[in-house]
Amino acid sequence: MSPADPKLPLFQDADETVAAIHQGEVDAVVVMRALEGPQIILLQGAEEPYRVLVERMSDGALTADPHGVILYVNDRLCEQTGYPSAGLVGRSLPSLFEGGPPNLVPEVTVEASLLRNTGEAMPVAVWSRPISIANSTATLVRLTDLSIHRRAEQIAAAERFARSVLEQANEAVVVLSPDGHITHASLRAEQLARQPPVGCTFSEAFQLEAQATEEAETLARFSSESLDALLATRPFHGVEVKLRGEANAKFTFLLSAGPLIDENKTNVGSIVTLTDITERKRAEEAQTTLVAELNHRVKNILAIVQSVAAQTMRSSVSLENFADAFTGRLKALATAHDILTQTRWIGIGLGELLGAVLAPYRSPAEGRISISGPPILLPAHAVVPLSMVLHEMTTNAAKYGALSTRQGRIEITWQVTGGIEKSIELVWLERGGRKVKAAAPTGFGTKLIDHVISHDLDGNTKLDFDPDGVRWTIAIPLRGLAGGGAAASGAATA
């Protein structure tokens, strides 16, 4: 420390000092203390609370003289600009702003860009009013950092946007914080949750059950806590689950989780989705059933073909005879399958089936074949056996009966008979053909008709050889038409 200047009289200015203090021209004094050395003691006046308020306020503040020279800045303005107070006091007010000084109007807030020491500009709201300092006029300027407000507005807008995206999502989507608590939930998630989900852990809001055995093992490996932690911190894909509770029992979900990364590439939680795959599962199950059904039907058809071939071979006297009979029966089979395909395996009316089987022999002009009876819908399983039966009857008529002459006619009629046990009684009446008599031994066609009607459709047949032609009477109980599945395999064993 330099020694006291010998030219400065120590007590020469004592009177002046006292007078200055008395007149209020000083507001601090230096007091010598034995141990600490010189100490500054502030003489606080009535304005002191306001000065402290300004110094500690969250907005930047400065005072400038009428020429715009900055006289005072508070700590916040130093933070805002990045300069120490010594770097601001004495500067001109306009030099603080980018793009020229704001047009200050007392008590009016205007926006401006405050220049930081880094060269960046900070949006600020500038408010000013004239004040009096030490008998002279000055301007008090307050600068409010708008970047905080703007950032808050951006965050609020982003939050609103994210929330609206979530709310509009058709799937159940929740956002988990890193500690496993739900911070956001879509509308669908709120509907599925056991309780309002926000604030709960995932396992509190959603009680999971595995959809399949292997997935049950996957889920069983995790306690509720570890599942929450896993979902919140690790990618998690594709476990099919159900939610406990009656209301959710019919739905199947795909549980997935992915990390939620913020703008700093930091993992701030995860997004968990419960995708409703109920329809997909139904479609998959329907497809599996369909494939199994198709497989079953193909096997049945092959068995029928094999059986028909073997039987036809046994009853054929020559290769040509076999070829004709076998081709005809395959065509009948094909016709039956065409009908089933066209009707999507729902079935067909009895009249329509007769029309399709007899189509090659029917000529509207000749009117040789008449078909009449009440509407009866045959189920799909009855179509193949009845087609085979009608084919055999038609073939017999073509070879030996009404269709073997120009004058021959066939009348096919049916009705529903019986009381409690209702049956369809179908009569096939041939007239005008060649005279026929009972064949001995009975041919394969007749055997097939008998066998199919009795075994596959639980009915019975009666064949009368009238002098004018044959009369088939076939009775099929309606309950025989109600069953399914055995028809094709039954035919196969004929």
Partner: protein
């Protein structure tokens, strides 16, 4: 600026007390009006380093010291009385 015609002024202040701020404003104004281009002002904040008060035996703040031209002169107060400052600094004959 030379030592002969220039004014080397040192203003002791205590942070940003009202009188300190007023003294800075008043001094700049007076110098700009009466000593344009012929002055240097050094502002010493004793709140930051009270020991600097020893150099010129400062007892009240604000205090202005005229270091040059010699002799050394001091003015205590917020320098709101311009006439007093001009006289004290020998800028205008009393």
């Amino acid at each position: 600026m030379t030592e002969r015609d220039g004014y080397n002024l040192r203003l002791y202040v205590a942070g940003q007390t009202p009188k300190s701020i007023a003294a800075i404003a008043n001094l700049k104004k007076i110098c700009d009006e009466h000593l344009p281009g012929r002055y240097e002002i050094e502002i010493i904040d004793l709140m930051k380093d009270p020991a600097l008060a020893m150099r010129h035996q400062i007892v009240a703040i604000p205090t202005l010291i005229r270091q040059l031209p010699e002799p050394l002169k001091r003015i205590i107060g917020d320098l709101s009385n311009t006439e007093k400052v001009l006289v004290g600094l020998d800028i205008r004959p009393s």
